[in-house]
Symmetry: C2
Amino acid sequence: MSNVQVLPLLEPESAAPCCPPLTERPLTAVEAERTAVMFKALGDPVRLRLFSLIASHEGGEACVCDISDVGVSQPTVSHHLKKLREAGLLTSQRRGTWVYYRVAPAVLAAMGQLLTSAAGA
Amino acid sequence: MSNVQVLPLLEPESAAPCCPPLTERPLTAVEAERTAVMFKALGDPVRLRLFSLIASHEGGEACVCDISDVGVSQPTVSHHLKKLREAGLLTSQRRGTWVYYRVAPAVLAAMGQLLTSAAGA
């Protein structure tokens, strides 16, 4: 019998990919509100570094226990990871002692598409 | 003789595309500092809307004179466009009375690539 507990945490409310390519039409106020939250979450150097640490970590996931050398304390790391999750950019899953974070692929793909399309204008 | 003056404004200092795909390796502190500035610029709903207005405008460029219905005053629009330019996301060119803004394609493509690659992890 395994003593590893799998307790998925709540997913962000609206992790659905947002919005057409930026070249197609202007975003509505509602779309802009929703999408800006994601960009804002990546608009902090420490959060962006943490995000890249998780995205590039073996298996595509990492817990706070895997993260060091970003120059901030572990509680601060946890705080930033929570912010990224709330913005819909990471998903999380508790396994035993630790919460493991993983990049939310659909949301990122949508953000990437939004920008790449704009670049092709 | 034309009375239209073409006076390109200063381009942002470092508009070079940044950084490998997020899945490849963690960003360095310097890379994260540089890239976070761009995400932060898009992390405001009004700026994101203005950005999409320009990206989707006829000819891929727009001046403040083309922009209305975003619910903020013209000086505020100008302020936000300047911020987007300083972050390297827009280029600008003065033509006569107006400054015309255009999406900076290379920078956006790089940001899009950064995210799209991470999504494919």
